[in-house]
Amino acid sequence: MATLNALAVFCLLYVALLFCVAFIADRTARRGQGKWLSSPIIYTLSLSIYCTAWTFYGAVGFAASSGLEFLTIYLGPTLIIIGWWWTLRKLVIVGRTNRITSIADLISSRYGKSNLLAVFVTLMAVVGTTPYIALQLQSVTFSIAAFAEADASGDGLPNQQIIAFWVTAGLVVFTILFGTRNLEANARHYGVVMAIALEAVVKLIALLAVGIFAVWGLAGGIDSTLAKINESAISDWEVSGGRWIGLTLLSAMAFICLPRMFQVMVVENENEGHLRTASWAFPLYLMLISLFVVPIAVIGLDPIYGGGRDPDLFVLTLPLENGREGLAILAFLGGFSSATSMVIVAAIALSTMVSNHIVMPVWLWATGGSAIMAGDVRRVILVARRISILVILFLGYLYFRMSGGGAALAAIGLISFVGVAQFMPSLVGGLFWRGGNRTGAIAGLAAGFALWAYCLFLPSFGASSIMPQSVIERGLFDILWLRPQALFITEGMEPVMHAFMWSLSFNILFYVIFSIAGFPTPVERLQSGQFVNALWQSQVPGNWTGGLAQSEDLLLMSQRVLGSEDARAIFQNAAKEQGGEYLPAPTPDFLLKLERVLSGSVGAATANAMISQIVVGAGVSVRDLMAVADETAQIMEYSSRLVIKTEEQERTARQLREVNDKLTRLSVQKDAFLSQISHELRTPMTSIRAFSEILKNPCDISPDKREKFASIIYEEATRLTRLLDELLDLSVLENAHAVVNLSEGRLSELLDRAVNTVASEGDGFKITRNPENEKIDLDTDLDRLVQVFINLISNARKYCDAKTPELEIKVARMNGMLEVDFSDNGSGIPLESQDLIFEKFSRIGEARAGGAGLGLAISREIMTRLGGSLVYLPWSEGTVFRVSLPLEAEIAG
């Protein structure tokens, strides 16, 4: 019992470690610390749950009988991920921007948010994954049994059923604890991902260790290992081309469609940039894991090393039978890791699907859709998830009990793969083909699933009541052509490939035919645009202020209201006026014009709301607005003919009211402005007058005081003058009589001038520039531009509150615009003040710092005159202002 006891101890310690790691990771994430949690390496390691106990044990078994064929299971994913730019990038981006929670969610969302599809996919996923879970439980119990056997002093095998039960129970606890902590539907499961990453490392190390032991410890080196392979039963490569290619293709599809893979690859993804690292790190991982499989298999087959009867367990039995108990325990932990990580993630993925797409709709229907508070809904989701985890894992345990543990591990894995591969046509079509629609998806999935069940899943139960042997041999209703494993003329094909070929062919066929024949609903059309064009659409707004991103949103929305031609015409004209090409910057002028045009179609309130939502970036997503716009467009079509007359009348009245409102607002603004100016002018004058009077009789004043007072007078006079200058400037600019003096100059020189003007006092204010990027020639009003730069740099100098204030000036080109960012390392501008900073006379904080408060207002006005913009970027820690200028202002050549 010694070994078994040691095993139990190490196992419990390891499990405790996993719990700790998960707990710490979760807590760190919740506190908002720990950037390391979203490192690309963690992401790559989490992808390794593709390698389950099937890899750890079954691959060796597979290799022992079929040679190198097992490699196809890993070549497929390798090919997919090295082409990530083409294959996976869109999937991950679509998943993140649409906040997709599962593969069922993705497919259902794409095809018009169809719940029927979601249910279908969920059920298929559950059916396909349950045997796989049973497989993992089986491997754990078998591996424990192997230890017990080797332990001669032991008194027999512990009851396998009980072990499996306790393992399942432990998995339920872990998964519920760390997989259903958060109330938000989309919260990332940091704890689970960390634990999975740790298990990935343990898996790899264990397998490599056993491999190294086998090659160098047992066989005596690489050469003798190679010789052994040549003498073994698998010395010749006897893989059929069909299977080599077919299995690679199958594993490639499964890599994307397996619910657990979708969960870690898309749902838990923090940043699509992580794919960059995964694209080489993951294939490397796969390669290392498969490196020693054949050597271990061959060495295990050699009776000298006492590998035992079951090739699936060579990874354990080789160290055990050769006295390396420590190594065997490590190997056990590796196998344990691979089994448990798969089960945990699969349980999370499946329970998410079940709770979101089956439980929730039923519950909502049952409660009659009555007013539900948000809190209730979340609680129900949580409870539904936890119960689903329990049920799914229990089903897995049941399957394990009933299957008797006889089926070879490899077979179940491949059956599961073909099952989930049925999602592929709808998925790929959904992402790349706008023509794919819901009917097609349902038809394809139904056909594929039916064929999969008939040809592969049901026959796998063996000659049983589910599918009688007679049907297998003589076909359904005794029709030879309908034999499940030899449909039509395909006699003699290996069952997995056979089922794969037929199910996918009919799946694709039905999907294409029904998609072409049908018509999508408006919601489907909206969604298909969202998904297929995801690489070129902006994210859900709420982060941006200003910038051409909003013009794109505005265009898309306007197209839906006004029609494609009209909208584009308006935008292109506006853009040409501004000196651009397709998209105008969202200047106040343009926005006003656009609002006017739109209100003609949807009414002023909606037009105003639409534009301000997009430009200000408040909570409503563009999708919602577009949905409104779409609906509105439809309503317009139907009723336009009937109500043209009344509409025009209404429109005129509305516009008159609008103008009236605007005038009232303007006059109020003017009053406020005048009284503000009055205050700003009189305050310095007060000091000047007071001190001048004091200094008229300088006799009883000390020389120091005299100097001080005199300098105060000087200061305030300067301040007054500056204020008057700025006021004049502003009024000149605003009255559009400003003369724009075009001349040519280089950006770097302009920046030099600005920097030297502001920081010539050499006071330790650090400015970082990148001269390489500043070699841009401009044709614009250079003096005004320098004025803007001076304003921004001096603001940074005055208001940056960092201990060592630094300013970084970054230059970039972004699609026809030159962007110069001025970012300092201070504490930024608080959210409430962000709208105010460009207003006249607003000053953040108490510090006067010698400014009149008009600087930013003027700078913004200047940039608008020059056809560009000046915006504050709210997403950084410090203060960042972005000056944009159209690159038409750049001289060609």
Binding site: W84, I93, L226, I229, T248, K775
Partner: protein, 87 residues
């Protein structure tokens, strides 16, 4: 004169980026072709060891290639922003 040089440098950089994206798109096909090569060797029976060494060599090469190409590809989220105006 120096302006022309600068312009062409940044042009070259953009060009290289696009070619890198093309290369990345071709990688799976290239990899598939390489992995499929052993199928063409089946004149007489092929020894397992030979195929094994070949496959793993190709694998390592693909890992290295993929790393190099991915390094020179832009960050996908930046790329998405940049692509926003392709109407």
């Amino acid at each position: 004169m120096s302006d022309k040089e600068d312009n062409s440098i940044s042009d070259r950089r953009a060009y290289r980026r696009r070619r890198m994206a093309d290369a990345s798109r071709l990688m799976p096909l290239f990899g598939a072709a390489l992995f499929g090569m052993p199928l063409l060797w089946g004149g007489e029976t092929v020894p397992t060891t030979k195929v094994m060494v070949y496959v793993f060599a190709v694998w390592i090469a693909l890992v290295v290639l993929s790393g190099l190409i991915s390094r020179s590809l832009p960050d996908p989220s930046e790329e998405r922003q940049r692509n926003q105006f392709r109407l």
